[in-house]
């Protein structure tokens, strides 16, 4: 086994382990931290795949933004140190069963399929290439989704403010 695949297996174990702990942990804050680890593991995976830009974006946005947001909301709504209740056994078992069986099914599908890896020269993934293609108007340009996503972000921001704001008391 090469070093590359060894690193891959380590990363995979790390990601899956943290994920599993994140969804089963009984302490809320710990679950958030496990999520953090899982996301960092995924970023590591991207690094291993030589997609540095994506890895960086993942760390900056996901880890630095979303997880922080989640932690803020935990502090806003919860007694941090307390334990959470267990869901009832029936639901847990059922969900576990469903997830497991579906995983087996998908795994079977994947393993039956042979992906033909073409012999093409990989394109180096530099930032300027990504930027140029994102903003170009030609056939492979992604300028339209770019604009749409930016509008989505704007809408999300405004939406959050509207949903979560406290209306001032009306004094008659």
């Amino acid at each position: 086994m090469t070093a590359s695949s060894f690193i891959f297996y380590v990363l995979a174990a790390f990601i899956l382990g943290s994920g599993l702990l994140a969804v089963t942990s009984r302490k809320l804050f710990r679950a958030a931290i496990y999520l953090l680890f899982s996301l960092i593991g995924i970023a590591g995976l991207y690094f291993w795949m030589n997609y540095e830009f994506i890895a960086a974006v993942q760390i900056v946005v996901y880890v630095g933004g979303i997880v922080v947001l989640i932690i803020f909301s935990i502090f806003l709504t919860h007694h941090v140190g307390a334990e959470m209740e267990q869901p009832n056994r029936l639901r847990m078992g059922f969900a576990a069963l469903a997830a497991f069986l579906s995983f087996v099914f998908c795994a079977l599908v994947i393993s039956k399929n042979e992906f033909a890896i073409p012999d093409q020269a990989p394109v180096p993934l530099t930032v300027d290439r990504i930027g140029m293609q994102m903003l170009s108007l030609t056939e492979h340009g992604y300028i339209l989704p770019f604009e749409v996503v930016s509008m989505l972000l704007l809408a999300a921001m405004i939406g959050c403010i509207v949903i979560a704001m406290k209306l001032p008391e009306k004094t008659s």
Partner: protein
Amino acid sequence: MNHILFLSTALFFIGVYGFLTRRNVITMLMAIELLLNSVNINFIAFNKYLYADKLDGVFFTLFLIAIAAAEASVAIAIIINIYRNYRSIDVDDVDSLKW
């Protein structure tokens, strides 16, 4: 490449399990993040191994990260509203939309 797909599938179903099982709304949100991430891994894997000369998977991933951020923020806003109205963030308590 199949291994990466196994990884992402497993992560996906871990996320599903977490979504269906957890009682706290914030942990459900965390499980959703896991789901989205598994999809991201899938896109990158396909891009790297099957379509190495194009960048479409990368773009998908970028946009998906952006969208996930937006969605997480809206979800937090809703959670705060729920906490204000129901005084609890247990998803079993938020069942007013029943018969």
